[in-house]
Amino acid sequence: MSEGKAKGKLAVYWAASCGGCDISTLGIDTKILDVAEHFDIVMWPCAADGKVHDIEKMADGEIDVCLFNGGIRTSEQEYMAQLLRKKSKVLVAFGSCASEGCIPGLGNLNDKASCFKTVYHDSPSLDNPNGVEPQPVTEVPEGKLHLPVYYDTLKTLGQTVKVDYMLPGCPPESDRIWDAIVAILENKLPEPGSVIGSNTTVCDECPRKREEKKIKKFYRTWEIEVDPDRCLLEQGLLCAGIATRAGCGALCPQVNSPCIGCYGPNNGVEDHGMQLLSAVASVIDSEDPDEIDAIIKEGIPDPVGSFYRFSLAQSNLRRKNKAGV
C-alpha cells in the first residue's frame, strides 16, 4: 500500500437491506484501521457519524469511493442513491441487495398495497385498531411532516443510478471485502461496470465429487440422508452452486446445505434464475411431458424462491405481474 498519500474520502450507505453487509465489513477486523488510515469516512450510518447536509454541501465527485448496500424501495433511498452518485467518483453496489435486490427484492412478488396490508393490518402481532397506515405527508400544527414514499417495486441500485462496480454476496465475505478494498487502495480495479470477484462458480470451490447429471426427483434437504461426498444436485437437492459466482468458499455445500445463490450470476449471465432454471431443467431425467410436469410440480413448489431468491429484482421480468398480485 502506498504510504504518505493524501487521505481519500469514503462513504458507506445502507438502503433497503438487513445490515449484514455492514457487519461483514466490520468483519475485516483490525484491518479496519488500515481503512481509516487511508480514508476519511464521511458517512457510515451504521458505524460513524455523518450528516446528509454535509454530503449535500460537498462538491460533485468529492467522495472517492462510496460503498452502497441495500436496494431502492423508498423515495428517501432513491434520493440518497442519486445524491451519493453525484458526489462520488466511484460508486460500488455493495452486496446482493444493491447489486440484484436480494431478499427485499422478493417483495416484488407483491405490490405496495398488499405489503401494507400484511404489515399494518393482517400481521398477527399487530395492534393497530384504527388501521393507520404511514402517510407520506402529515399536517401537524408545526407544519408538514414527511415520510418517505414506499414504492411498488424494489429496484437495484444499478436500476436507479449508474454504478461503477458490483460486489456480490449476501453478505460479501469479509475476505472478499478486504480484497476489494485492497484493489481500491492499490488502484487495481477492473473495467468499470464489472463485478469485483471471481469468474467461476461455487462448484469451483466445492469439494464434492461431480458426475454426469440426471435428476428424476427433487428433494428438500430434510427429505433425504445427504451423501457428504457427492454433488448435492445429483442427489436431487436444488443446489444453485452451478450457476452462482464463486467467492464464498462453498460454505453451504460443505455443510450438506445446497447453495442458495447469494453471490449472484457469473460474468456474462443476464438472468441468474433463468440460467439456473435452464441448467436444472436440462438434466431432468424424463422425456414424458406429464412425468416432467409431475417431477417439477412436486419437487419445486416455489419456483421464484428456488431460482430467484436473490435476483428477482435484477431479473428480466423483475417482479410479479402487478395485475396478478
Binding site: G158, E212, I242, P265, Q275, S278, A279
Partner: protein, 678 residues
C-alpha cells in the same frame, strides 16, 4: 461499437414488393436504425447485378456488416455470403432476413406486411452488429467406408465402393451375409431364383481384396465425425477360428444337437447347434449356438472339436472389439417382419395352417425344409385352397400406418407359385392392388389369367368355427367382398398372412450411435425425401435400403449404389468443410459442474478429470446450442448464435413494442438516472 451496416431489401419482382412497401422499409431502416449507413432496395437482389451492388458498397462505403432482406436463408444465404466474401468481408458478418416466405407470401395486407418487415429487418440489423468473423474448417476424408448390414443393399454398396478401389468394412450381425433375400425363393416379377442372383454377389464380396467382411459382428460405438470416424465393432465369439476353418462342414454334419431354426427357416426347418444359416453362406465358417450346444450347456460332447480336421474349434474364444477408422458410414440395416400374432383374429400361432409370408417363402423354396413342396403343417397334405391375406400389420394405424410396398407383388408371386406347383384354388384378399413399378402391372395381369381369385376386402377374421358342414375342418376366411357389398365366408385349407415390413427393433439405438434420427415409426430420416434420399442430416452418414422405408429389391440395389456414389464423391474430393457454427467452452471460467456433459448426443463435450473442466471437441459438435442454453455459468458460447446476438435480435424485432417512457430492458439495466437531486 461503430459498425457500418448496409441494409438491402429485395423486391423479388412483385413477390415481396406486392405485399411489402420495400422502398419504405429501406428508407426507414436507413433513417432509424443506429449504425445503418447504406439502405437500398432492388428488384432482384440475388441477381448478379444485385450482388455486384452489395460488393461495391462493401468496398466503397467500407461496410463492416451486411443485412439482406429477401427470401428464406435456406435458399440464398450461401449466395450472399459468397458476395460478402468476394468483397473481402467475412461471410459470417452477414445476416439474411426472410421477407418473402415469412412476410409477403403469408400477409394479405400491405400495411401489416410492411410493419412486420421493418421489425424483422430491425432484428437482423441489431443482431448483425454482434456477429463475429468465423472461419470454416476442413477435414481430410479417410478413404475407408463402414457399411452396416450385409443384405442386398449393403452388399451392393460395398461392392460399388470396393470396385472403385476404396477399402470397405462390411459389418453383418448374423453369421452370414445375404439378408432376407437369401431366404426368398423367387423374385418378382421376373421370377428369377433369388439365390441365383444373390449368391454370386455374396461370394464376390467375400473374396474382394478391398472388402473386410465382419460377420457375426455388431456396431458397438461410433465417435468422431465426417471424414474421420472411429468405430468400435464387437466381433462375437464364433467358437470357430476363421483362419483355420476350411468350411468343410463335417462339424455340422456330426453335431448331435438338432434345433428348430427360428431365423433362416422361419421355424419350419432345423439346424444344428454348430451351423451356418444356409449352405451357400458367406463366410463358410460356422458358429456355435451356445444356448443350444450340449457342451456349453452340460460340459460334455465336444463332437465338433473331435471331428474337425483342422482343429478350428475353440471353446474358449471370446468376443473381440475391433477398432477401425473410416471416413463415411453407410447404414443398410434392413427390416424385420411384423409379429403376426398381434392380429389375433387371423389365428396365427393358434391355427396350425396359418402361415406368415416368410414361412411361406421357405415353404416354396427348393432349398427349404420341404424341398419346395407346398404342404400343410402335417408335412404331407397339399392344400386344395389357399387364402393370401394382404396388409397384415400394414396400412393399419393400430400397428403400422405405412404401406409395406412389396406385399402385393409378393402375394401375386405366391399365387403364381401355388398355381404352378399345386392344384389349389388361390384367393387374394386385398384392399388396393399396388403394382406400380416396371413390369409389375403386367405380372398382375398374368395372375388374373392364371386364375387366381381376387377378393377386394380386408379380412375380418380367420376362424375354425364352422357354421355349416361345408365349413367343417376348414379355415374359414370371413370378410366383406367390398365389390359386392356382401359378407362372404370362404373355407380354405391354408392361409398366408402378408406380414408388414417393419423397422428393426433397435433402429433408434443404432441411429443414435451414428448420430442420425428416426421417424416416429423407426425409419431413418433422410436429408431430403426427394432430392437427397440417401444422405442424412449428419455429414458422412448415409442410409440405404429398407432401413429408410419399405421398398423392393430393385429400389434397395439402386439406393445401395447411390449411397456408394455419394461416398465416392466425398473420397474423391478428399476434404470436407465443417461449418464453424459450434459451441466452445471458456475453460478458464468453467467450474466443471458437469451439467453439459450428458446433454450432447454426439459426445462432443469431454470432461477433463485432472483440470476438472469440460471442453468441446469442435469437430464433433453439430452446433445445436443445447449446451449453450444449459450452461449455468454462462461459459459456453455458441458461435453465430450467442446470447448477445440473440438478445440483440429480440430487442430489434420488438423495436416498436417498448413503452413510450423508454423503459426498455437492455437500456434499463444501466438506467440513466433521472436527475432530481440537484
Amino acid at each position: 461499437m461503430a459498425e457500418r451496416v448496409g441494409v438491402y431489401i429485395c423486391h423479388c419482382g412483385s413477390n415481396i414488393a406486392g405485399t411489402v412497401d420495400v422502398e419504405e422499409v429501406a428508407r426507414w431502416a436507413g433513417e432509424n436504425i443506429k449504425d445503418v449507413v447504406v439502405s437500398k432496395d432492388y428488384k432482384f437482389m440475388c441477381s448478379s447485378l444485385g450482388q455486384a451492388m452489395i460488393e461495391e458498397d462493401i468496398k466503397k462505403e467500407k461496410l463492416t456488416r451486411v443485412v439482406v432482406g429477401a427470401c428464406s436463408p435456406h435458399l440464398h444465404e450461401k449466395t450472399f455470403r459468397t458476395a460478402c466474401k468476394n468483397a473481402g468481408l467475412n461471410p459470417y458478418l452477414f445476416d439474411m432476413t426472410n421477407l418473402r416466405e415469412h412476410v409477403s407470401w403469408v400477409c394479405n395486407d400491405k400495411e401489416a406486411g410492411t410493419a412486420k418487415a421493418k421489425a424483422l429487418i430491425a432484428g437482423s440489423a441489431e443482431r448483425v452488429k454482434y456477429q463475429q468473423p468465423l472461419e470454416p474448417s476442413y477435414v481430410d476424408v479417410h478413404p475407408a467406408t463402414l457399411v452396416v448390414g450385409g443384405g442386398i443393399t449393403g452388399l451392393q454398396a460395398a461392392l460399388e465402393l470396393a470396385d472403385a478401389g476404396h477399402p470397405v468394412y462390411l459389418v453383418e450381425r448374423s453369421p452370414s451375409v445375404g439378408g432376407h433375400m437369401a431366404q426368398f425363393d423367387k423374385t418378382f416379377p421376373t421370377l428369377d431364383c433369388s439365390a441365383c442372383i444373390l449368391t454370386p454377389k455374396m461370394s464376390e464380396a467375400g473374396q474382394h481384396e478391398n472388402i473386410t467382411m465382419l460377420t457375426y459382428s455388431e456396431l458397438e460405438e461410433v465417435s468422431g465425425s465426417v471424414g474421420k470416424f472411429k468405430v468400435k465393432i464387437r466381433k462375437k465369439a464364433r467358437y470357430v477360428v476363421e483362419k483355420d476353418c476350411t468350411g468343410c462342414g463335417i462339424c455340422m454334419e456330426k453335431c448331435p444337437r438338432k434345433i428348430v431354426d427360428e431365423d433362416f427357416e422361419a421355424g419350419l426347418g432345423y439346424r444344428k447347434a454348430i451351423y451356418t444359416p444356409f449352405p451357400q453362406a458367406v463366410p463358410r465358417t460356422p458358429v456355435i449356438d451356445v444356448e443350444n450346444c450340449t457342451y456349453f450347456q452340460r460340459g460334455k460332447c465336444k463332437v465338433c472339436s473331435k471331428v474337425c480336421p483342422t482343429n478350428a474349434i475353440d471353446y474358449e474364444q471370446q468376443d473381440e472389439i475391433i477398432e477401425i477408422d473410416v471416413g463415411n458410414i453407410i447404414l443398410a440395416t434392413g427390416w424385420k417382419l411384423f409379429d403376426c400374432k398381434k392380429v389375433p383374429q387371423y389365428g396365427y400361432g393358434r391355427l396350425a395352417n396359418v402361415y406368415t409370408n416368410m414361412e411361406f417363402e421357405r415353404l416354396c423354396n427348393a432349398a427349404g425344409p420341404t424341398g419346395g413342396k407346398i404342404v400343410m403343417r402335417d408335412g404331407k397334405t397339399e392344400p386344395k385352397s389357399v387364402a393370401i391375406i394382404h396388409c397384415v400389420g400394414s396400412r393399419d394405424v393400430n400397428h403400422n400406418a405405412h404401406c409395406s410396398a412389396v406385399c402385393c407383388m409378393a402375394a401375386l408371386k405366391f399365387g403364381h407359385l401355388i398355381l404352378e406347383k399345386t392344384n389349389a384354388e388361390v384367393y387374394s384378399f386385398y384392399i388396393d392392388m399396388r403394382t406400380n413399378q416396371k413390369q409389375y402391372e403386367e405380372f398382375y395381369q398374368r395372375l388374373l389369367e392364371e386364375g387366381m381369385h381376387f377378393v377386394r376386402g380386408k379380412v375380418a377374421e380367420v376362424t375354425d368355427a364352422a357354421r355349416n358342414p361345408d365349413e367343417q375342418g376348414k379355415l374359414i376366411v370371413q370378410c366383406e367382398d367390398t365389390l359386392l357389398g356382401k359378407q362372404r365366408r370362404i373355407p380354405v385349407d391354408m392361409v398366408v398372412l402378408m406380414g408388414a415390413i417393419e423397422p428393426q427393433a433397435d433402429a433408434k439405438e443404432l441411429g443414435l450411435k451414428c448420430g442420425i434420427s428416426c421417424s416416429m415409426a423407426g425409419w431413418y430420416t433422410e436429408r431430403h425425401p426427394k432430392l437427397d434420399p440417401v444422405a442424412t442430416m449428419t455429414e458422412g452418414v448415409f442410409v440405404a435400403g429398407t432401413c429408410q422405408g419399405a421398398k423392393d429389391i430393385p429400389a434397395c440395389v439402386a439406393q445401395g449404389a447411390a449411397a456408394a456414389a455419394r461416398v465416392q464423391g466425398m473420397i474423391t474430393k478428399g476434404k470436407v468443410m465443417i461449418e464453424p457454427i459450434v459451441a466452445s467452452i471458456n475453460e478458464e471460467a468453467c467450474s466443471g459442474c458437469r451439467i453439459c456433459n450428458n446433454l450432447c448426443p454426439y459426445n462432443a463435450i469431454e470432461f477433463d478429470p485432472v483440470k476438472e473442466t469440460s471442453h468441446v471437441i469442435s469437430s464433433m459438435c453439430k452446433g445445436c446450442g443445447t449446451c449453450v442454453a444449459a450452461c449455468p455459468a454462462g461459459v459456453i458460447t455458441g458461435a453465430h448464435f450467442n446470447n448477445q446476438q440473440i438478445f440483440a435480435q429480440i430487442d430489434g424485432v420488438l423495436w416498436d413494442a417498448k413503452p413510450a417512457g423508454g423503459n426498455g430492458g437492455a437500456a434499463a439495466k444501466a438506467a440513466e438516472p433521472e436527475p432530481v437531486a440537484s
